[in-house]
């Protein structure tokens, strides 16, 4: 199963990278969302997969029994899911605000708002010439 998951994650990565490379900001944000999900799956798979044994301690035991799932990656992913959501919401707000200001959703139109490059300076010439 790990091998099949690795291949699936690869396909998810390809899809998200392709979308991120596009100029439409809608596609970019969908790419970012897929990427954050795919990354979580990488971490999960790397902690190895266990079926039917959640990382819980038995009611009458003091320590974890053998053979339960790896708790550490799960804790990491839990944080990552929530942070990923925060990132998504913020990015979405930026894109929305960008649209409100420019009525446009193309990333290649963004540098219209850049300050123009200053006049080139050069040594050995008098000022004002």
């Amino acid at each position: 199963m790990e091998i099949l998951l690795a291949i699936t994650v690869g396909i998810l990565f390809s899809a998200s990278l392709y979308l991120i490379l596009k100029r439409s900001l809608i596609r970019v944000i969908i790419g970012i969302l897929i990427l954050s999900n795919a990354v979580n799956l990488v971490i999960f798979t790397m902690g190895r997969l266990t079926r039917g044994a959640p990382p819980l301690i038995e009611p009458d035991a003091y320590t974890a029994g053998a053979g339960i799932a790896n708790a550490l990656p799960q804790a990491l992913i839990l944080t990552a899911i929530v942070i990923g959501f925060g990132l998504f919401a913020f990015t979405l707000a930026i894109i929305y605000r960008y649209y409100l200001t420019t009525k446009n959703l193309r990333s290649d139109a963004m540098n219209d708002s850049e300050t123009p490059v200053p006049h080139p300076f050069s040594f050995g010439k008098k000022e004002g010439k």
Binding site: A6, G10, S14, G47, P55, I94
Partner: protein, 772 residues
């Protein structure tokens, strides 16, 4: 000695306060500091003359072998006395020269800071300490050259000097560090004793070139000699002090100091002697191209620096002794002449010799001072300069294979020097009286006292060289050569070859001076000035401009301003960089892995793949969001199937929110009409597929490795016993890693604030615009 330097730094920072109180007498009052230090060093005069050296060490950074170590031997004493002695006179002079200047306080502050730093350079007994003080002198020199910062010329000259000496400083740091590593210590005294280790070290050539770059840039050797005339944009007291008597000699000081560790190899001889001799000859004749007094003096300073470098390169005891004498002689007469040039400029309003003449009657004291100093510069008995020049000739005659070349170069150079000294001492003062921009009259006492004393010292030491012979010249020679020397100077050597050459030099120089006005205008002379004076400068400028152009080219390539290009660059470089490394370093084998896969699991995976393809292919936002939701919920199913209920719950909640949010916002927005060409699609597809493949391969490689379960086991054993929770994942989040969770909450809070300010505030502004 640490105390002396610290006191100098502290008083430097008090200088503005002192100026406020002492006003027009600031120069006199502040000169007490260098005069006091001069006295302090004079106390050790006899002791150093007996061949003793004084060391002081204070640990500074104990772990890094950096200590504040100071050493007083003949060489450092000579320099310390020059720095403090001339420093005293220059401070007094500056008080007169800059009288009533708005920023006299600032000027004296930097001047005192420079003096303290320069003392640090010549007293340091640690490579790192020496380097720090070295750079401090570059910085203070920069501030002083650019002192008239409202002038464009001052600013660009200051920057030019800083860039050139700074570049040299960087090279020097490299050289010193490698030298320190090679010798196993940063302590200069110890390094000087382990010269054989350094000379035989495989990196010797590298150390040599780096150190020479530092020394040559600082001492304005050909081909970077042009920064020194440029530095004449500084007020004249600075030119007299930094750019003739002291700072520019830091380079030759370094060569002399490190001579026992690096000298007497063939490479050393060729490089140091060669650059020195070429600089000597080039500088000497460049002085005759210009009519600006300071420029004439600046180029003759370049000549002197070249001569000293050449002497250190030759490296015989005799040559080193000559270098020691020449350093002192030059500092005395050149400091005096610069101050004289400053006085002329100050009183007559110009320092262009074409506009000056007959000042002798108006400024008799200055004229006399100029004459004494110029006699020394021209090498006429009984001045110290005469002894210096005779010694140079004697050294060049005994330089072995190359003696014929070196003696010709020396005589030619000195002919030009005789002519320049005549230009400085005769042209402005004799001949018909010319009308000058300001009505000239004698300079105040503060401005003739300094040059007068320096000029007289040149005479005094010329007649009685024994006054300084033992403690300064011989002790310096011992320090430079690393062995005890006992050769003593005298003014008169009888009629010998150097004396005959001196007479030829004098006659030649005076002839050149006689025809100087027409000689200067000749095409040959002007062409020489352009070729060796201006061309190196324009090469430097075009190199700088080339750097700027290259930077701009780089910016245009990498900073296109287009998001998709940045993304392609970042992702492409990451993916292919990692892929190449992986291909080169790891053996990739298909993992042997046996595991059952259920129909349910495979269905989930297929669902995900189909959704991913749909997200890429679909043109509508709604379809893409649906596909996105599918992927998210399929991942939740994977979490359930593989024992992660907490993850599944969170994933379902967050995914639902995400889809709702995305649908709410994105569906309302128009789809941008971007059509990618087939080429772009293929390129992006190639990058994306490579990235995906790389991730798969990396995962497969990791799956073959051992999993480190140390932390997992720790949490399993302690989550109930220590933290009283049975859900291990929850315990990790809220207990063991509680600060991470707090950070996560803060991130979400910040994101929320960001969203409010992005959307809500914009809406408010809109409303206000609509209802004015």
């Amino acid at each position: 000695m640490l105390t002396a330097i610290l006191v100098a730094f502290i008083i430097a920072f008090l200088a503005p306060l002192i100026v406020r109180v002492a006003k027009d007498y600031s120069g006199w009052v502040l000169s007490i500091l260098p005069a006091g230090l001069f006295t302090y060093f004079m106390i050790n005069y006899g002791e150093v003359g007996r061949g003793e050296t004084i060391r002081e060490t204070t640990v500074w950074l104990s772990g890094m072998d950096v200590e504040l170590a100071f050493l007083l031997d003949g060489l450092s004493l000579t320099f310390a006395l020059l720095i403090t002695g001339i420093g005293t006179l220059v401070t007094i002079y500056a008080g007169g020269y800059m009288k009533g200047h708005r920023y006299l306080d600032r000027f004296l502050l930097i001047l005192m800071l420079f003096m303290a730093s320069m003392l640090g350079v010549v007293l340091s007994d640690n490579l790192i300490g020496l380097f720090i003080f070295w750079e401090l002198t570059s910085v203070t020199s920069y501030l002083l050259i650019g002192f008239n910062n409202e002038k464009e010329e001052s600013r660009s000259s200051a920057l030019q000097a800083l860039l050139i000496t700074g570049l040299g400083g960087l090279a020097l740091l490299g050289g010193l560090v490698i030298m320190g590593l090679a010798a196993g210590t940063m302590n200069i005294s110890e390094i000087l004793n382990s010269g054989d280790i350094i000379r035989d070290h495989p990196y010797y050539m590298g150390i040599l070139i780096l150190v020479l770059m530092g020394a040559f840039t600082k001492s304005a050797q050909f081909p970077v000699h042009f920064w020194l005339p440029g530095a004449m944009a500084a007020p004249t007291p600075v030119s007299a002090y930094l750019h003739s008597a002291t700072m520019v000699k830091a380079g030759v000081y370094l060569l002399a100091r490190l001579n026992p560790a690096m000298g007497s190899t063939e490479a050393w001889f060729y490089l140091v002697t060669g650059f020195g001799a070429v600089t000597m000859l080039t500088g000497a004749w460049l002085a005759l191209v210009y009519t600006d007094l300071k420029r004439v003096l600046a180029y003759s300073t370049v000549m002197a620096l070249g001569t000293i470098t050449m002497l250190i390169g030759i490296g015989t005891d005799y040559a080193l002794k000559t270098a020691a004498v020449f350093i002192v002689a030059h500092s005395l007469y050149k400091g005096a002449l610069f101050m004289v040039a400053g006085s002329i400029d100050h009183e007559a309003g110009t320092r262009d010799v074409k506009l000056l003449g007959g000042l002798r009657k108006l400024m008799p004291v200055t004229a006399a001072t100029a004459a004494i100093a110029a006699l020394s510069m021209g090498g006429i008995p009984p001045m110290l300069g005469f002894i210096g020049k005779e010694l140079v000739y004697e050294t060049a005659l005994n330089a072995g294979t190359f003696s014929l070349v070196l003696i010709s170069m020396a005589v030619l150079a000195n002919i030009a020097v005789v002519a320049s000294s005549a230009i400085v001492a005769i042209t402005p003062f004799y001949g018909e009286e010319k009308k000058t921009p300001k009505h000239a009259h004698e300079a105040p006492a503060s401005m003739w006292l300094g040059p007068m004393i320096l000029g007289t010292m040149g005479l005094l030491l010329g007649v009685f060289p024994s006054l300084a012979d033992r403690s300064l010249f011989s002790a310096s020679t011992s320090a430079i050569s690393g062995v005890e020397t006992s050769y003593y100077l005298s003014l008169w050597h009888g009629i010998n070859l150097p004396l005959i050459l001196s007479i030829i030099t004098l006659a030649g120089g005076l002839t050149v001076f006689k025809f100087w006005n027409s000689l200067r205008e000749t095409k040959a002379m002007q062409g020489y000035g352009i070729a060796l004076g201006d061309t190196p400068k324009s090469i430097y400028e075009s190199l700088l401009n080339g750097t700027l152009k290259f930077a701009r080219f780089q910016i245009d390539v990498f900073q296109s301003g287009y998001l998709h290009r940045y993304m392609s660059t970042v992702i492409g470089v990451t993916v292919f960089g990692a892929a190449i490394t992986l291909f080169l370093r790891a053996d990739i084998v298909w993992p042997e892995y046996h595991d059952s896969v259920s129909f349910f699991e495979v269905t989930i995976l297929i669902l995900m793949i189909v959704a991913a393809v749909a997200a890429v292919v679909s043109k509508s936002a709604l379809k893409s969001i649906t596909a996105l939701g599918l992927i998210g919920f399929a991942i939740a199913l994977i979490y359930i199937q593989f024992s992660a209920p907490d993850l599944a719950i969170t994933q379902i909640l967050v995914e639902t929110l995400t889809v709702i949010l995305a649908a709410l916002v994105l569906v309302k927005l128009p789809i941008p009409d971007v059509v990618d060409s087939m080429g772009t699609k293929l390129r992006d597809g190639f990058i994306a597929l490579s990235g995906g493949a790389l991730v798969t391969v990396l995962m497969l490689i990791i799956l073959q490795g051992e999993l480190n379960l140390e932390l997992t086991e720790y949490f399993g054993e302690n989550s109930y016993v220590v933290a009283h929770g049975k859900n291990i994942v929850n315990v990790i989040l809220v207990d063991f890693r509680a600060f991470d969770t707090l950070g996560e909450i803060i991130v979400l809070g910040v994101a929320a604030f960001g969203i409010i300010s992005l959307i809500k505030l914009y809406m408010n502004d809109k409303k206000e615009e609509q209802q004015p």
